[in-house]
Structure formats: structure tokens, C-alpha cells
């Protein structure tokens, strides 16, 4: 005789608030946005237009030029992060984790401070420092005899995007530093001692023993950086405005989405084209996350101790 268990209402009660809020505010709007991209306003009526908005986005020269510009800028933004932020983060973490280092907690706390500041603060602080009017940056370069190197980096098309990417690196280097530091601390002493017995120390110990062991952490950092960068908006908006000047040289997908969807100055907001751009961003981020989950993560060898 099997007695049916009574329905466990408490499970529903525990899950309901989180699932309801999450579904209503996050999941449904996300799919509605994807859906909106398939409609457009034609003669004061919202009509289903299929993939027409995407044809405009990629086919119409006015739209596609902006889109590819934003995407290329975004890719460059990401590349700078991968090439500068992550190696610097690994280096700092490796130094911090060296045994018997005094003051490690102080360095850790101090280097992480920029990460907690808002983009508004970071954007304006650097704008002021790099400003040719105030003269902190030119003054400092002059004091080491390099005044000729100074240029209004944020105002020039050729250098503005790289400068902003480096500012963003300055802000976020604390995150890779912290995660790698944790991964390095997790390596058991026996492994290091065994390496030392075999005469592997210093640099070669880092390259041959530690680096392979922290590769999974580097993988996680890379995907976090990817999602963060292709979703970035605030820093560019604060430092260069929604027009992402000079002449759209710093326009990335986030600012392009904002301008399109919300309108700016003479341009009217267009929710349907905005939704199309959001869909494109969604697919890019989804592709990146899938590559990470199905290609990179499965190939990274994990060691359990």
C-alpha cells in the first residue's frame, strides 16, 4: 500500500517570489524584446514585418555602417581588455601570492578600489586628468621631459577608443587579480613542494606548474569580460555622451542601442530597431557564452586535489 505524499506547498511558497519576479521582469521582457524586433510601425499601426528590421540593420547603408562600426569598436574594446587587463591581473595576483609577502592585504584592498567606483566617477575623473585645460597629465609628462608625447587622447578619433578601453582596464583589473589570486592560493603546497624537489622554481615554476592550474580561472574571467564588454555602455556615455564622439569613434553596441531605442537630439527613438539591436547583442553574447561552455570549458583540464 503506497500512501501518496501530500503536495508540499512549502516548496511552492519558497520558490514563488524569486521565480515570479525573475520571470516577470527579466525573462518575459527579454523575449518580448526579441519579439518586438519582428514588428515595426507602418502608417500608425504596428505590423509584423518578420526579419525586415534586421534587413534594414544589416542592409541599409545608414544603419549597417553604424552597426558594423559599433561592433568593430566593441571587438577592439574587448581585445584591449584581454591583452592588458588579464595579463596585468595575472601578474599582480602572482606577485600577491608570493609567500611571506608583507602587506598583501593592503595592496589587495587598494588595487580593488577603482572597481567599486561608479562609471560616472571613473569617467569624469579621467576626463579631468587627461584634460588639456587642467594640465595634470601634460604637467606630469613635462616633469619627466616627455611633454611632446601629450595629446588630447580622448578628443582624437584615432586614440579615443583605446584610451577609454584602458580606463576601463584600470577600473576592472581588480577582478581578474582577485580571482586568479584565489586560484593560486588554492594550489596545494605539496604540488609546489614536489616541483621544487624537481628543481623547478621561479619563472619556470609559474609557467609549467601554476599557469596550467589557473587556466580554468582565466577562462571564467575571459567570459565575464566578454559579457561585460559587449554589454558596456556607462563609461562611454559618461565620458563621450550618447553620440560617442569624436565622430562615433567610441560608439559601441550599448551606446548604439541607447541612441536608437531612446532617441537623442534630432533622432527620434525607435523601439523596434532598438529591439533589433538588442537581439543582435543577445545573439553575440549567447554565441560567446556557448563557445565558452561547449568548446573552451570542456577542453580545459581541471585538476582536483
Amino acid at each position: 500500500m503506497t500512501e501518496r505524499r501530500p503536495f508540499r506547498w512549502h516548496i511552492v511558497v519558497f520558490l514563488a517570489p524569486a521565480v515570479l519576479v525573475y520571470t516577470a521582469i527579466m525573462i518575459i521582457p527579454l523575449f518580448q524584446t526579441l519579439n518586438l524586433a519582428l514588428f515595426n510601425r507602418i502608417e500608425d499601426a504596428t505590423r509584423f514585418v518578420g526579419l525586415e528590421n534586421f534587413r534594414t540593420l544589416f542592409g541599409d547603408p545608414r544603419w549597417s555602417a553604424s552597426f558594423w562600426n559599433a561592433l568593430a569598436n566593441n571587438a577592439w574594446f574587448f581585445l584591449i581588455h584581454m591583452l592588458v587587463q588579464n595579463p596585468v591581473g595575472v601578474m599582480l595576483a602572482a606577485l600577491l601570492s608570493s609567500p611571506r609577502l608583507r602587506g598583501a592585504a593592503f595592496y589587495r584592498t587598494a588595487i580593488f578600489i577603482p572597481t567599486i567606483l561608479s562609471f560616472v566617477i571613473v569617467g569624469f575623473v579621467w576626463k579631468l586628468i587627461l584634460s588639456p585645460i587642467w594640465g595634470i597629465a601634460p604637467g606630469m609628462l613635462a616633469s619627466v621631459g616627455l611633454k611632446s608625447l601629450f595629446a588630447p587622447w580622448l578628443g582624437q578619433e584615432a586614440t579615443a577608443l583605446t584610451t577609454l578601453a584602458l580606463i576601463s582596464v584600470w577600473q576592472f583589473v581588480g577582478i581578474p587579480m582577485m580571482l586568479i589570486y584565489a586560484a593560486l592560493l588554492a594550489i596545494p603546497d605539496e604540488v609546489i613542494e614536489a616541483a621544487e624537489m624537481d628543481g623547478i622554481t621561479g619563472w619556470s615554476q609559474f609557467w609549467k606548474i601554476k599557469l596550467p592550474l589557473i587556466l580554468p580561472a582565466i577562462g571564467i574571467i575571459s567570459i565575464l569580460t566578454f559579457v561585460g564588454n559587449f554589454n558596456a555602455f556607462d563609461l562611454i556615455y559618461v565620458a563621450q555622451g550618447a553620440l560617442a564622439g569624436p565622430n562615433f569613434a567610441t560608439d559601441i553596441l550599448g551606446t548604439f542601442l541607447y541612441r536608437t531605442f531612446f532617441g537623442f537630439q534630432l533622432q527620434l527613438g525607435d523601439p523596434h530597431m532598438g529591439a533589433a539591436i538588442a537581439t543582435a547583442m543577445f545573439l553575440i553574447i549567447l554565441a560567446g557564452v556557448s563557445v565558452y561552455l561547449f568548446v573552451i570549458q570542456t577542453r580545459l583540464r581541471r585538476y582536483s586535489f
Binding site: 508540499r8 512549502h10 516548496i11 511558497v13 519558497f14 520558490l15 517570489p17 524569486a18 521565480v19 519576479v21 525573475y22 521582469i25 527579466m26 525573462i27 521582457p29 527579454l30 518580448q32 524584446t33 518586438l36 596585468v88 606577485l95 608570493s98 609577502l101 595592496y107 589587495r108 588595487i111 580593488f112 578600489i113 577603482p114 567599486i116 567606483l117 561608479s118 562609471f119 560616472v120 566617477i121 575623473v125 586628468i129 587642467w134 594640465g135 595634470i136 604637467g139 582577485m178 580571482l179 584565489a182 586560484a183 592560493l185 588554492a186 554589454n231 555602455f233 556607462d234 559618461v238 542601442l257 541607447y258 531605442f261 523601439p271 532598438g274 529591439a275 543577445f282 553574447i285 557564452v289
Partner: protein
């Protein structure tokens, strides 16, 4: 002997690089705060000097506190952050308890469903979120912001908290059941106090992006009465861009609360990051 000397040299080099990077990390903040207390003339003449009795000037702070509604903005940010934090922790812990404690059909799927939001940013749904808020009359209310930040914070909260709750002793909960405690009492009086460290970690992770966000305040609640401090600072600086004293003072005022919170919670934050990564 030789190894000892080379290790001393290596330590010195490590300190050198770390000090250099610490200076790079802190220098911009230092410059802003120092110059906020100086007169306009001194800001331009000696930007790197500390304020002296001759150059001491609080005119920037007077402008900021007189012109902008900074206290109101600050209060808005505080309300939004504290309320979001409360609901993320409460709802997140409840869901994490259900997922980690009970076996039921669809448990794994539910966990994956809630984890989706860790990787897919909520911003991509902005177009429809704005329509939803317009339709429900929540535009320019703090409620709209709180709802969005709760939805944004939940996925990571559920993920971290359920990992921790799996570690709570089953004997303890079963002892409670034998004593006739309801499932709710077990959750609130036995389990919650035990996962307090994890809650603190989640709190820090939720608090920083909520306090610093510019996107949703800009789109959902740009009205004067509902501006957050982040948006308020941004708008204020846009208007006073040539008044250097005011700009520097408002930046200093925006840096302070976050810095104080960080210094209080930094141990917790660092422990949270390292514990999460080690797993």
C-alpha cells in the same frame, strides 16, 4: 647565501611593482579629493599639492549642496539599494533553500532556469521593461528600479546561496523536524543564521552594481524626485562642467559613501570572491 639574496631581491621587486600599481590605482582618486578642498586658482596652479591654509576653500561643496538636491538623490539611492538588497536576500535565500533542500520534479531545470540570468544581462530586455513599466504606471518611481535590481540580483544570489545551503548539516534540520518545527521555521530559525557569511557576500555583490548603475535610472526614473546619486552626479556635472570646484566636490561626495562601505566590507568581499573561486 646566493639564494637568500636573490629571494630578498625578488621580494623587493615584488613590492616595487605592487607599490607602483597601487599608486596608479589610487592616484586619480587622490587628485580629485585633494583638489575639491582648494580654491579655483590653486586647482590650476598646483594640482598635485595638498591644500594649505591659504588655498583651503570649500566653495565647491557649498555650490553642490546649495544647487543640487544631493541629499534627496542620496536618499533615493539608499532606498533603492537597501530595498533591493533586502528582497534579493530574502527571495534568493528562500529559492536557494527550496532548490538545495527538497527533491522534486524539475528541480534541476528550475536551477538552470534561474542561473540563466547570471550570463545574460538584463539590459537586453530594456525595451520591453520600459514598456512594462509604462503600462503599469511605474515609470519614474523607485519601485520600478527596485523590481529591476531584484530581478537582476536574484540569479547570482540563488546560485551562491544554494551552494552554501548544501553544506548545512542535514541532522540539524531533521532534529528540528522531529521537534515539530514547520519547514518555514526550519528555514528562518535554523538555516538562515548558519548561512549569514554567504548572505554578506551576496549583499556586497548586489550592492555595488545597484548603487553604481546609470542605465536603468536614466531610462526608468530620470525625474528630479527619483534621481539616484549616480544619475544626479552625472547630470549635475554635465551642467556645471566649467565650475571646477563644484565638479570636484560632487565627485568627492559621490566617492565617499562607496569608499566607506567598501572599507567596512572589504574583508567580506575578498573572502566571498576567493571562496567562490576556490570551489
Amino acid at each position: 647565501m646566493a639564494t637568500a639574496r636573490s629571494s630578498a631581491g625578488r621580494t623587493a621587486a615584488a613590492h616595487g611593482i605592487l607599490i607602483l600599481y597601487t599608486v596608479i590605482a589610487l592616484f586619480p582618486v587622490f587628485v580629485i579629493v585633494v583638489n575639491a578642498f582648494k580654491s579655483r586658482r590653486a586647482i590650476f596652479a598646483e594640482p598635485l599639492a595638498l591644500p594649505t591654509p591659504e588655498t583651503w576653500d570649500l566653495v565647491g561643496f557649498r555650490t553642490v549642496l546649495g544647487q543640487g538636491d544631493f541629499l534627496l538623490y542620496f536618499q533615493n539611492s539608499l532606498v533603492v539599494t537597501v530595498a533591493s538588497l533586502f528582497f534579493v536576500l530574502l527571495f534568493g535565500a528562500m529559492a536557494a533553500f527550496a532548490l538545495s533542500e527538497y527533491r522534486f520534479r524539475g528541480n534541476l531545470m528550475m536551477g538552470l532556469y534561474l542561473a540563466l540570468g547570471i550570463m545574460i544581462p538584463i539590459r537586453l530586455g530594456t525595451v520591453a521593461i520600459l514598456q512594462l513599466m509604462v503600462a503599469s504606471g511605474l515609470v519614474n518611481t523607485l519601485t520600478a528600479l527596485i523590481l529591476v535590481y531584484v530581478a537582476q540580483g536574484l540569479p547570482l544570489a540563488v546560485f551562491i546561496l544554494s551552494e552554501f545551503m548544501k553544506g548545512v548539516s542535514a541532522d540539524l534540520k531533521n532534529a528540528g523536524r522531529i521537534d515539530g518545527l514547520s519547514e518555514y521555521r526550519i528555514f528562518f530559525t535554523l538555516v538562515l543564521p548558519l548561512v549569514r557569511p554567504a548572505m554578506a557576500t551576496v549583499a556586497v555583490f548586489t550592492m555595488i552594481p545597484t548603487w553604481n548603475d546609470l542605465w536603468f535610472p536614466l531610462i526608468l526614473a530620470p525625474a528630479e524626485a527619483t534621481k539616484t546619486i549616480t544619475l544626479g552626479t552625472q547630470v549635475f556635472i554635465g551642467q556645471f562642467v566649467t565650475n571646477w570646484n563644484a565638479v570636484l566636490a560632487s565627485l568627492s561626495l559621490a566617492i565617499l559613501p562607496v569608499l566607506v562601505l567598501y572599507l567596512i566590507f572589504s574583508r567580506q568581499l575578498i573572502r566571498g570572491i576567493t571562496a567562490g573561486a576556490v570551489k
